[in-house]
């Protein structure tokens, strides 16, 4: 009796199973750390659509396709141009009429477009399931933020994720605020050449804000250029320009993980939320291939060691013992117009005319470069006073670790 009805039910079950398997493969449901663990003081922003996306996949894995479908439809109501959700919706619907063989079971679709959406799904879900790192650990790069910098941005290109940290001046520790899905260069990170379709990695900051009207619909709700190539990039011979943080076209909620010519692209809603916290000329944007996370203790140690080196440099300068002072400079040191020899010669001349020197450093920031060199970008306001000259300036130094000691490899006005 009711043979075909039973067959149909079996087919449906089979379809669900296939789909679930595909998804399990796609995103192992074993978040290494459960969110919400740890101190109750951690404020976590659950904004954005990953929580909903994650629930949808959970429902699918539990074979509750009806729930999954209504959640997906709810998500699409909120974000009608979110293509990944359309793909999931298609799968859930199709699973009801035929067995699925893969996630994104579209026939005759361009494989690259499908791969893009699958990559986006993986990136979003992985980041969401492992997001606790952002709360429990500190990105190694945020060594020290100055009091006037309210926020810092750290980008992980491999994870297709941007993390926003607040400068918690009370605890001295960067406090996680939010994280967002991002797209980066079609050909990945580590930009070196104009037109290489890569996103630069390094320590940058937001240099300006371009209005959406001026830049056009493709860039969405705004654009924030960063200072690539920075002093270090130029010194390494890297070129190119026009690396921005920007939004998406109006018909596209988000782009695939690898989609831009080098820019960092956020959804318009996310960009708008982020923009509120960006200080032009100030907010650091550190772009990494893969963020290194430190425990609070390790982070404190690194920070203390470098602070100590900087303080020694400062006091050695005040001491007028020029050899002790020059010890802090790498043999590869270069300023914008001098190498170490020329620099040393000039310093010795100046030093000869000094009876006393007083140096005050304030608003000091230390951001570690994510590249393979142990390099830290140090920026501060310098108040220089001496018997014959007073001067205030904003200075930037690149400190590098050579043979276990921190040395200055670049110095210039910031």
């Amino acid at each position: 009796m009711a043979h075909s009805a039973r067959t149909r039910r079996l087919t449906l079950r089979a379809a669900q199973a296939t789909f679930a398997v595909a998804l399990v493969l796609l995103c192992p449901a074993n978040p290494s750390v459960v969110a919400g663990q740890g101190s109750g003081a951690t404020v976590f922003s659950d904004s954005g659509l990953e929580p909903q996306l994650s629930r949808i996949f959970d429902e699918i894995e539990k074979n509750r396709l009806d729930n999954a479908l209504s959640l997906t439809e709810g998500l699409l109501k909120q974000y009608p141009t979110f293509r990944l959700a359309h793909l999931i919706k298609g799968d859930i619907l199709l699973a009801r009429s035929m067995p699925l063989s893969t996630f994104g079971n579209v026939s005759n679709a361009p494989p690259d477009k499908l791969a893009d959406l699958r990559d986006e799904a993986i990136a979003r879900l992985k980041a969401y399931r492992n997001r606790s790192a952002a709360m429990e650990y500190v990105p190694r790069y945020l060594m020290q933020m100055p009091p006037d910098q309210k926020y810092a941005v750290v980008v992980d290109t491999q994870k297709a994720r941007l993390y926003l940290y607040q400068n918690d001046t009370a605890s001295g520790r960067p406090r996680f605020v939010a994280d967002y899905y991002i797209s980066h260069g079609k050909l990945g990170a580590d930009k070196t050449r104009e037109g290489d379709k890569r996103t630069p990695t390094g320590v940058y900051h937001v240099t300006s804000s371009l209005s959406p009207k001026k830049v056009g619909d493709f860039y969405g709700s705004g654009a924030f250029p960063i200072n690539y190539p920075n002093e270090w990039d130029k010194r390494q011979g890297r070129n190119g320009h026009g690396i921005w943080l920007h939004g998406t076209p109006s018909d596209t909620y988000s782009r695939p993980p690898k989609a831009s010519d080098g820019c960092v692209v956020l959804s318009n809603a996310d960009l708008e939320a982020l923009a509120k916290n960006l200080q032009i000329g100030l907010t650091p944007v550190i772009i990494s291939n893969s963020i290194e996370w430190l425990s609070f203790d390790d982070w404190q140690n690194e920070r203390r060691t470098l602070n100590k080196a900087i303080e020694t440099w400062r006091s050695d300068w005040e001491s007028k013992d020029i050899d002790r002072y020059l010890r802090h400079y790498s043999k590869n040191f270069r300023s914008s117009d001098q190498d170490l020899e020329q620099y040393a010669k000039q310093k010795r001349q100046v030093n000869a005319s000094k009876d006393w020197i007083k140096i005050k450093l304030s608003n000091l920031s230390m951001f570690r470069d994510p590249g393979k060199d142990e390099l830290v970008v140090v920026t501060f306001e310098q108040d220089y006073q001496s018997n014959n000259l007073n001067n205030q300036m904003k200075k930037r130094q690149y400190w590098i670790r050579e043979d276990g000691a921190w040395k200055i490899i670049f110095e210039g006005a910031a």
Binding site: K89, S97, P110, L117
Partner: protein, 376 residues
Amino acid sequence: MHSLPETPSLARVSAILVGLLLSASVTFANAQTLPDVQRLMKQGQMPQALEKADAYIATKPKDAQGRFLKGLILTEMGRTADAIAVFTKLTEDFPELPEPYNNLAVLYAQQKQYDKARTALEMAIRTHPSYSIAHENLGDVYAKLASQAYDKALQLDSSNRATQTKLSMIKELISTSAKPGTSGKAGSGISSETKATTSPVAAQEPKPAEKNPEPAATKAPETKVAEAKAPEPKATETKAPPEAKAPETKTPEPKAVEKPDVAPAVEAEVTKALQGWANAWSRKDVKAYLSYYASDFRTPDGMPRKAWEAERAKRIDKPGKLQVEVSDIKVSVADDKATVKFRQQYTSSTLKSSASKTVVFVKSGGKWLIQQERVG
């Protein structure tokens, strides 16, 4: 059989409707009228059928069967909006009946309103979880919706990738056994392909269907009462009860047949004649084409046969490619007359058209020849 990918095969509706025994609502009057309506529908005389149906509904405004037929007639006439209104009202007045939901869904799907179609089908299934046609239709609608979703996901134009929609209109309004007192009995006169293929099962089907937990069991069988009143030959929905089919068999194309024992052969002959006619036309073989017409063929506007033939020859023998295809063929036979309804897909270098057509064949000298030909 689906020549038009975007058009659900509503032409399937042409089969005779089986009477419905709705408890005490059967009166002598409706027993007379509804079969009349059905016969007119079968003959393709939709305006007349509609007139009769309206008259019937005027006397029995609450009668589901009459209104259901009206919905089918309007569908056949291409008055989709009106048909939707009729079926919608039926779902409101008889929410326990799955058939109006199903047909509503077919019409929505035809208009590419797949979300509405889905809702309607889900309602049909909610009332009758094992309603196999609604399940199949819903599967198609889901596939269509999935395709739309994929297009949005990938920013594609799916027009050349579209899966065919092949939703089935329900032609019978039969309350399922889920509702006490409305179940039919398996009649002796089951005349359908179901019987032709699986007659031993169907014939031995136990009569009281209420005992059967599957509502679908009462779908194909018709009541004896209706049978007695309906003078016309009958055909049942070919979406047969699931248990009457081999599990793997795909539901065959619905066809209306005269008498189970002779119908398939006659039908095949007529279908063959129709295809021969279309082929001759496609080949631009005027002589062969004209040979398919009976001597008493009713020319349009009664024009002289010679003039008509000359006109046809001129039209057909134009340069450029020509293709005439027939699909969705439904044959109904009465004595030496066979009425064939089908969809005609006409493609020439200048024109592409698709129309439903009706051709009446007569048997003459062992050959089936065309006596009437009309659009609609």
